[in-house]
Structures are given as C-alpha cells and as structure tokens.
Symmetry: C2
DNA sequence: TGACGCTATGATAGCGCTGTCATGATGTCA
DNA sequence: TGACATCATGACAGCGCTATCATAGCGTCA
C-alpha cells in the first residue's frame, strides 16, 4: 500500500512538474520551517482528472454519484484513482459542500464502563457508514458540556449525540436551532431537543428497591457515588420506593467516582452507622462489587443475611460468588441505535419513533436469592 | 451563550447588509433540500474584518499571532469578534494552511479497561492545547489497523498515536515518510517509527511468575485471553520463566476477549485438567478476578492453598477479598505522555528522550501472601 | 538628509473540492 | 423531421481561511 502511495507521489511530481522537491522535503521540513505550505504533495482531484482525460467535476461526481457518470468514463476514472492512489481531502470537501461527515459525541466519561459500552455501540453504529466520530469528554462537568457543545456545533457536524437531558438552557437553545439531527441518550424524557433514547432511572432504582422488599429484606441501605443527573434520578426512585414502603432512608453517598474500593468504604461506613442493615442497593455495579467484598471481609453471609443489588449489570456481576443481582441497562444499544437514528435522519428519512424507551431489566441472581 | 450567538447573527445581518436572507435560510433548509449551499450563515473572518475596519488578514493574524498586530487594532478586532461571536472555521483553516489540529489515535479497543485509562490520559494530555483527537478502533484486527492508518494519515493530522509495534510493513513505511510526529505506546521497542513509550511485557510476565515462585508456589498455571501481540510477548515471558525454573507449562488460553466470566471458565478448565495446581498467573486482571471467584466457588483458600497474580492492576484488585497481587502498568501515563511528546514535537521541539520505558511494578497483595 | 531596516497592514492568489448553470449529444414522440 | 426532454460532461465561481509578497510609515545612523 505504501509503495503505491509513494509511486503516486512520483507520478504526480513527474506529471505536473510542480511538485519537484516538495516530495523530498515533505518529511524533514514539516516539523520545523517548511519551505512552502502550498499544496500538500498528495494527488488531487485535478491530477486524477488530467490522467483520466476528463474534467475535475466529473471525477468528483464519479466518486460521489457514480450513477451520474457513464460506465466508460467511470472506469477510466477508477483506473486513474487507483494508479495515483488518490484519496479525497475531507477538509476541502467539507469546506466546499458545507456538509461534514463528522458526528459529534459528547460523553461525561471515557473510563466508566458504562460509557465504554456506549462508545463501542457508537463505533459499531458508524462502521461502514463513512461517518467519523468526534468525541468530547465533559468529565461530568456541566460547564464543560456548555463549553463543548457550541464548539462542536460550530464545526458543522452532520449530527450530534449528547448524554442526558440536563443541558443548560443556552446550550439547548443553540442546539435546537442548529440545523442538524441530534439525539440524546441514557435518559427517558418527554421533551427531547430532537430525538432521545433511554430509560427511566427513577423506575429502575425503584424496581431495585422493590425487589429487595419482595425478597424480605427490610433494613435496606443505599450506596451512591458521583451523583450526576442520572444518579440523582435514581436517588429519587429509591427514596420514593423506600418511603412508599414506610422505611427510613439509609444512604451513604460520595461525590467521588464510583469504584469497588469506594463501594467497600461506603458499605463499611453505612454498616457501622446502621447496625442491623440487611441489604444494600448499590447505584453502580462497582459499588456492589465492593459491597460484596466488604461483606466477605466481615464474614457476613450473602444472600442469607444480607442482600445486594447492583446497577448496570456489568459483566463481572454474573461471575461473582455469589453472583450479584443487578439492573440491566442497554448501554451498547443506546449508543448504536443513537447513531443509527442520526444516520437515518442525515439521509433525510424520518425515524419511526424519535422517542425511544429501551427500558431496563432486573436480573435476579444469587446475591438476593435467599431462603 | 446561545443568546449571544443568536444576537451575533442579527447583528451581522443588520450591520453588513450582505447577509440578509442568509441568516434566515441558514436553518430551515439545512436538513433536506436547502436552497443554496453557499455560505454557512455564520459570521466569517471577512465579517469581523469589516466590522473592525481592517483587512481580513489582520484579523487572521490577530487571532493566531497577536504579537504581530498593534495593541489598538487587536483591541478593535477583539471587540468585533466578541460582538459577532465569531468562531473560526477549522476546515477552512486546515485547507488554507495545510496544517491540522487533529491528532489521530488508533487503539485496539475502547471497552477494555486498559484502553479506557489510556484514553483518559490522551484526553487529559490534549486538554488546553487546542488539539483535537480522532479515534480509530481496530478491534484487535491488524487488517483494520492497516486500513485505518493510511486513512488517518491522509487527513493530514498534526500527529498520530499508535498502539503497539506490530504495524504491517506497508503501514510502517507509509508512516515513516508521513511527515508528522508519531508515537507508539504500550510496548517497549528498539526500532520505533518515530517515538515510543511502553514497557516490556516479557519482563513483566516473567516477574509475575518469579513472584509466585518466590512465594513457594510450584504447580503454576497461566490464564490468557484474546492473544494480541502484547499478550503474545507476555506469553513468551511466562514461558521463559517457567522453563527457567524447570516447571511444566500449564496454560488455558482463549481467543475470546478477557472477562471475569472467562476467568472463571479458564480457571475451572485448568484446575480440572491439572489437579494439584497451586497458583495462577492471569495475564489480565479480569481473568484474575474470575479466578478468585472460581476459588471461592470451589472452597479453595487463597492465598494459603492457592496463589493468584493478575496483570494491569485495575482498581478492583485492591478492593477484592483477598486483595489480588497484580503487575501495575502505567496506562494513563502512556496516553498522557504520548500526547505531550507529540505536542512538543509539533511545536518543533525535540523531546528529551524519544524512547521511554515506563516499566512496571509488581504490587504484592494478599492473594500471594501466604505463611 | 537619505539609505536602510523594521513594523503594521493589505492585496492577491490560492488550498482542494463542490454547487450551479451551461452545453452538446442523444433519444423520443407526434 | 423538428420540438423537446434527457443524459453526460464541463466551465466557473466560491466555500473561509492563510501564505506570500508588497507597501506605507517610522525610526535610526552615518
């Protein structure tokens, strides 16, 4: 492949006679003070056109709308493209067309397993579509989101994918009039900017508490970390479920990121503060894993004397001993479907349903299966 | 923020008198059949220049090299920029300058915790530098890497960051003559394309085995999954260490991705096949977690009757009961330092050392602390 | 005082591509 | 056969910005 690229350069230089010397300087000078910035040293549309003996536009068309070019011409152009190893310049294309093939994605985290799965879905969603992904990481900071969104929007993306529904009013207004499709993921909402795919965190947390109640646990505590908007809504859910059952609120919350170590620490704190605690709903799975380890360290029998429910159903929940009950969320699906809906819209089609509730499912495992 | 954007549009249209109508059309038609693709509806350099009463070039300079513009002019331009809420068009900038602010990053996975940490380091590394990150995901497929690398290279990135040292000869040759700085991470190597930051997987795996030997474990097995090039080199390391100690090779390897569930399955398989096994080196931490769970399920006492060593020192290793000994690798650092070195090179400076061995550290914990 | 260098600014010509409109060639139907 | 539609192709202008070179203004020094 390389050989052909370099061959192309030679061909280019030899043909036009204007690239002499640039090819050589291409590498060394690029870093410091190159002689001339003009021309990139790569074959251009015009080079392909000259070689194929047609106009530049025809090449452009042959590449983008082959049906508008006669088969014979198309074939000659294809040969020229192959010979020069021509690759279109995306920047020039964007500038000229006013359209880009970049889909902007704004996520609150890259390290959190939850978003790793979303990200995988996103990349799988664009695979083969020709769209590129540009990722922004807000680190759970609303101000960072408010800064990134206009920045991304200014780059004329083909579409944008956002996390959650808590954009600032200013950001929201900007995006509503942005002129490209937008999808919000990870939450359910009645009033999306454009399209939305998610589930109810309130309902999911409520379901977790009700499951513990159904299993006969009564002195239920809750662990939470890094209370982003999704966590806040889960909190409303577990509080509602506990209050509905007439049970007191026993929470240990940390603003720090969720982790197994944090789970152990919070579980330890709550167990010490609330003797007789017999179950924990952990608003993230890594907290649940930590809680399980804390029980093991204290010699507490799970599930006989203590129930544990996690959230998100990460892979390791099933492998744990005992395996841990968790609320399964469709993270990969949200990323993938989000991109698919955007691509549909970019193509000018209306999605069947712009507001999708993917729901959740409580996966019952050994950690709450007592008696 | 939005208010100012929209205010700027009004101001723009009102002031120059040339944008009338564009402002209006900018939005509605954008999705389907816009009337005219020309002009984006956003203020341009020329608009700012007209408002400030200077030439377009002066505005361009004021933005990029403020020192070359007189303070008075600079101030007028700054006001015009603020009033119009002007944001430069990166595509046009790239096209005109032949330089881009995109750093291409090619990783084998986005979901693997290892690369999530690398990614975080990468994003932290570019924060505040003005560079953008473009991520490619090869899914551990060398062919996908061979496809992505030229594609990325063709987009005139400012630099590229690659994973590992196993690029195809063609890819390597292409990148060697690409003319932008390149860093390879995750591995140690004598012959980098340009710069390299990593550690010896061979040495690290060898150290893990030697640690088990030092703790008195003798019937040592090894678990591995998804044998990418890094895993292969670890494999050479553990094989060398075992052979050096005159011990037989007891491996359970899967081509599937590493996971806790996979760890349980492989541990189970090897324990059944090799009765009397007394330790496992798990070439990934999630395998180690699964191995620990399998021991718990079988009632095997760790570390007394069975030692476990993991690899990468993920956060949960410290929280596990017993806590799990693991080989710490500097994943975040590799991502971050990689970007920092690239940025240095883009700025024309030579890094102190283009070949960095970040090493590794065996973190001894309870899972191998017996007697 | 005039040659010289320096600073601040501008005019011009692109970067590589696509939208628009024009043109010639071909096919179709009455 | 001629009016008209259709198809394939091209010329031209321009997307928003920057590199290059030119120029005016100013201070400096012999």
């Amino acid at each position: 492949m390389v050989e052909t690229v370099q061959g192309a350069r030679d061909g280019d230089a030899g043909r036009t006679g204007t690239t002499q010397g640039r090819t050589g300087d291409g590498r060394a000078g690029a870093q410091v003070g190159r002689m001339s910035q003009r021309r990139s040293g790569r074959p251009t549309l015009a080079d392909v056109a000259a070689l194929a003996g047609v106009g530049a536009i025809t090449v452009s068309r042959a590449l983008r709308r082959p049906d508008q070019v006669s088969p014979a011409t198309r074939e000659r152009i294809a040969q020229a493209v192959a010979e020069l190893n021509y690759i279109p310049d995306p920047q020039a294309r964007i500038l000229a067309s006013g359209r880009s093939d970049v889909i902007g994605v704004i996520l609150p985290s890259l390290t959190n397993n939850v978003y790793a799965d979303v990200l995988q879905g996103i990349y799988d969603g664009v695979a083969g579509t020709g769209f590129q992904i540009q990722i922004g990481n807000t680190r759970y900071d609303p101000e960072e989101e408010a800064r990134l969104a206009p920045l991304f929007a200014s780059q004329r993306p083909a579409a944008m994918l956002l996390t959650g529904i808590d954009q600032t009013p200013a950001t929201r207004a900007l995006l509503e009039s942005a002129g490209f499709p937008i999808v919000q993921i990870m939450e359910k909402g009645d009033d999306p900017i454009d399209m939305i795919i998610g589930f109810s965190h309130f309902d999911a947390a409520q379901a977790a508490i009700r499951h513990l109640l159904g299993r006969g646990y009564r002195r239920i505590g809750v662990l939470g970390a890094r209370m982003d908007p999704r966590l806040m809504r889960r909190q409303e859910g577990w509080r509602a479920a506990l209050s509905e059952a007439g049970l007191p609120l026993r929470e240990a919350i940390s603003p720090e990121p969720s982790s197994a170590t944090m789970g152990r620490a919070l579980a330890s704190r709550l167990m010490d503060a609330e003797p007789g605690l017999d179950a924990l709903f952990c608003a993230n799975d890594d907290l649940a894993l930590g809680a399980l380890f804390e029980c093991q360290a204290r010699g507490i029998a799970v599930p006989r004397d203590f129930g544990i429910v996690g959230f998100n159903d990460l892979e390791m929940m099933a492998a744990a001993v005992p395996s841990i009950t968790s609320v399964q969320t469709r993270r990969y699906r949200m990323g993938r479907l989000g991109i698919e809906m955007l691509v549909e819209r970019i193509a000018g089609r209306r999605p069947a349903e712009p507001n999708v509730d993917l729901g959740f499912e409580l996966i019952e495992r050994e950690s709450t299966r007592r008696g």
